[in-house]
């Protein structure tokens, strides 16, 4: 039975002819000024409008409405996925910061509004939401997840939009990829070095043995790479290597890694995972009678570990050494006091994670202000303003972030060290502020510790 192939073949030929005849735009590079523009579908051309009461003319295209007096910023967040509770608190911090700023006039009278979307930590959703929001926002206040940010990075470059990555992957300091990004905070691998040297000091042992484990992915592997470098630099013997072996939600890997750690009889354990995977392995280890000092990257900890009904609360309060890239809730700096004041006034519960939202928002605030002052609040203008940033300060809430200079000179190396606390509201107490370990200070940072392939 033959298909009436006439119409089908005509359609196909037409399709192929169209495809073949189509020329490509000149300027296959993504630099500005090439022959073909309009890389965003929503480009309505630049409007130059005079704001009321201001003598300056501000250029705008997307996300800034001078008539209505609003600036729209996008947040690509994971609110119900693996890092939901953490990112929800960060978003709450963002919201509170901008509410405070808007109440005192915003940015020269312009109110900043946040457009938050839930990507559920899925790459396809992340890209889809990026496409939706890029025609509505002037920049992205944060983009959650490393592979997710990598997926939109080439689009960010093609569209000329700024994004602040919400991941502490060490690869963001690479100038070859961060042209549209503003990374901040101590990268995972440097954090690991800090944590391990602190643990060694705390343990008082001459040369303790160490077990290192992690979940796979940029987060786990970057952190584990730092741990291996630290063990090497300090001359510690790695008695168990479970790097990348723990698969979240796969109980057999929990059993295997816990058995490995217990069997190795290590003095120190450095284990980076999601909170669920961390407590699962830790619980199994202490049930087997294992005692050691434990630590991991900051997102491995969850205040629920020391909650009233937690089975591991005493043990983990004894064993765990925690860290934070910014000052936790109880901090003494002016920045931390501001966070406490604003969040308590908003009726939010005490938790350590709002600080990240405030830091991201502070960076963006400085960028938007610089863009306004230069008279160009288009997406490209905001990006250009971001590239003129030299440094951002946070009133002690976080270490000063420097943006000009060699990666080795400007990468963040200091952080806060914490221990669990059974009494405090947040579940942690600060034991060391602005701590930089010797090995982290001496480490020659030449690029990503763990290279995200592909």
């Amino acid at each position: 039975m033959k298909i009436k192939s006439k119409w089908l073949s005509i359609f196909l030929v037409l399709g192929l002819v169209l495809a073949a005849c189509g020329g490509d735009g000149e300027g296959t590079t993504t630099t500005a000024g090439s022959g073909d523009e309009t890389t965003t579908t929503e480009d309505m051309g630049e409007d130059t409008t005079t704001t009321e009461g201001e003598m300056m003319e501000i250029a705008t295209d997307v996300g800034v409405d001078l008539e209505a007096g609003t600036i729209t910023v996008g947040l690509l967040s994971d609110l119900t996925g693996p890092f939901g509770p953490l990112v929800t608190a960060i978003v709450a911090g963002h919201n509170a910061y901008w509410t405070q700023v808007n109440a005192t006039g915003g940015i020269n009278g312009l109110t900043v509004n946040l457009e938050t979307v839930d990507t559920v930590y899925d790459v396809t959703n992340h890209v889809q939401f990026y496409e939706e929001l890029k025609g509505e926002v002037v920049a992205f206040g944060h983009s959650t997840g490393s592979p997710h940010t990598v997926a939109i990075n080439s689009d960010l470059q093609a569209d000329g939009i700024l994004a602040i990555p919400l991941t502490w992957y060490s690869g963001w300091t690479d100038p070859a990829i961060n042209s549209n990004l503003l990374p901040h905070g101590t990268p995972y691998c440097i954090e690991a070095m800090n944590n391990i040297e602190y643990m060694v000091g705390l343990s008082g042992l001459e040369s303790p043995t160490i077990a290192i484990a992690s979940i796979p992915g940029d987060y786990g592997l970057d952190s584990a790479e730092g741990a291996l470098l630290a063990a090497d630099a300090l001359g510690l013997e790695v008695v168990y290597n479970g790097v990348g072996k723990v698969i979240p939600n796969d109980e057999t890997t929990y059993d295997e890694v816990a058995a490995g750690i217990v069997g190795s009889d290590a003095d120190l354990v450095f284990y980076t995972a999601t909170p669920g995977a961390f407590s699962a392995v830790y619980g199994r280890a202490i049930a087997a009678g294992f005692t050691a000092m434990w630590s991991g990257a900051s997102p491995s900890w969850n205040p629920a570990f020391v909650a009233e009904d937690s089975a591991i609360r005493e043990a983990i309060a004894r064993d765990f050494v925690g860290s934070s890239y910014y000052e936790p809730w109880d901090g003494e700096s002016a920045g931390a006091a501001n966070v406490r004041e604003v969040m308590t006034a908003a009726g939010a519960p005490a938790t350590d994670y709002y600080g990240e939202g405030f830091i991201e928002a502070s960076i963006l605030h400085q960028v938007l202000q610089a863009a306004y002052d230069s008279g160009d609040m288009t997406q490209a203008g905001v990006l250009a303003a971001a590239k003129t940033l030299t440094s951002v300060e946070f009133d002690g809430l976080g270490p000063t972030e420097v943006y000009t200079g060699e990666p080795n000179d400007i990468v963040q190396r200091s952080q806060w060290m914490t221990r669990p606390s059974l009494e405090s509201e947040t579940g942690t107490m600060i034991v060391e502020s602005n701590y930089t370990s010797d090995i982290a200070a001496a480490y020659e940072f030449t690029g990503a510790c763990y290279v995200l392939e592909g």
Binding site: L12, D36, G84, V123, A151, G217, G454
Partner: protein
């Protein structure tokens, strides 16, 4: 309908009305990227466009439509397997992942991960052929069982796949890290500059301005039409009739001389081909995939597409695909609109919507627009609930799915005003 020839009886588009409607629909689909302002016209600042709903040509909606086309291809494959041949399969995600990684290995240049850097006319067909071969290898296990047991066997495939993708990190990039996939570019062999690239904006014939999404959409449309014609034609061939007889009563079919083993294997092979191509297109369209992309939920989405749309029908699968992909966006837009009505002030509608939508911790609602903080279901969770309810509802009340609903509407109006 009175058919006077065998050709007329077997025609895929058998009435003039259908032909005209199909023609107009295809013209509409092709014209969608041209609804955007600035799509027509030469020079530096073109402003022309075809008259039509311009929101469809916006980047995000056009991306959604392109995703609908990609899922339609995969859905057609599952429709052939489940709707036509009656073999329940939860393993679609495995074959999609396999197709995506085959495409990545053959299409991406080598480096830290495996890659051969071959052009699209090699990696795209291979992305279908290799899963088809694996489907043939899997088939002997599958054809011995039917129904629930077949579903479990194919479910096992998905979990085997998850394990493989996590551990073969020299192919997949590893859990949570992932890898990039080849863009849509045409090269003859491994040249530097592609002949045609769908990843950049461009101008065709000097007056049609299309951005990369528009070009990609048209490319996917051509591919989808190819697959639709194949799938529709399959139904009226000997193979298609064999599939349907196996679906209806496989033992009776065997008795009548239909080689059950051969045709079930063929069904798996064809379905896996479609799934592999669909997976490769999806991964290349998004640009990056992680092993967690190819999970059971993806298979469930395809089951939803086939069941909600109407198992066994091609137009049903297309309707199902559009429904499943566009549903989250529509829910989001409707919730946003409801929120605007609530914000706008007091009206009867506003008070109802206030009950339905919640915006912060203190506000009660069934659906929330501030996930993680406000009570109520999040949009994604609402999606899942709706999928489940719809699958159950359609299976009970309208087994032919959306296609069945369309049939009822059509039949009602056929006899109007004398319907009974």
């Amino acid at each position: 309908m009175l058919y006077t020839s065998y050709e007329a009886d077997q025609a895929m588009v058998n009435t003039t009305t259908k032909r005209v409607a199909l023609f107009l629909f295809v013209v509409f689909l092709v014209a969608i990227p041209l609804f955007r302002e600035g799509a027509i016209g030469g020079g530096d600042n073109p402003t022309g466009s075809l008259p039509g709903p311009s929101f469809l040509a916006e980047g995000d909606w056009l991306r959604l439509l392109a995703t609908v086309l990609i899922f339609a291809i995969g859905g057609l494959g599952l429709n052939i397997l489940t709707g036509l041949a009656g073999q329940v399969s939860l393993g679609h995600a495995f074959f999609m992942g396999l197709g995506a990684y085959v495409a990545a290995v053959f299409g991406m240049p080598g480096g830290g991960l495996w890659g051969l850097g071959l052009p699209i006319w090699i990696w795209l067909p291979l992305a279908g052929l290799i899963p088809a071969i694996i489907g043939v290898l899997v088939a002997p296990t599958a054809v011995r069982v039917r129904g629930l047991y077949l579903a479990i066997v194919t479910l096992g495939l998905v979990f085997i796949g998850e394990y493989l993708w996590r551990n073969l990190d020299f192919i997949t990039g590893g859990s949570q890290s992932g890898r990039s996939h080849p863009p849509f570019e045409f090269r003859l062999w491994k040249e530097e500059e592609p002949l045609i690239s769908f990843a950049e904006d461009g101008t065709w014939f000097g007056i049609l301005n299309l951005d990369s999404t528009g070009k990609t959409y048209l490319f996917l449309l051509v591919l989808t039409v190819l697959f639709i014609v194949f799938a529709k034609n399959l139904q009226r061939t000997r193979v298609g009739r064999a599939f349907m007889s196996i679906r209806d009563r496989d033992i009776a079919a065997e008795v009548m001389g239909v080689n059950e083993f051969k045709y079930k294997t063929l069904a798996f092979a064809i379905s896996s081909f479609f799934a592999g191509v669909s997976g490769a297109l999806l991964a290349s369209f998004v640009g990056r995939s992680i092993p967690e992309t190819w999970i059971l939920f993806l298979s469930v989405q395809f089951i939803a597409i086939v069941l909600i749309g109407g198992a066994g029908t091609v137009s049903g699968t297309l309707m199902g695909s559009a429904f499943v992909i566009l549903l989250p966006r529509i829910i989001r837009d409707v919730t946003g609109w409801m929120q605007d009505v609530v914000d706008a002030g007091d009206s009867f509608l506003a008070s109802i919507f206030d009950f339905v939508v919640s915006t912060d911790q203190a506000d009660f609602g069934l659906v929330n627009t501030a996930p993680g903080v406000a009570p109520g279901l999040g949009i994604d969770q609402l999606n899942l609930v709706i999928y489940g309810l719809l699958i159950i509802g359609f299976l009970i009340f309208e087994p032919l799915g959306l296609y069945g609903i369309w049939l009822r509407i059509r039949n009602y109006w056929k006899g109007w005003p004398f319907t009974y």
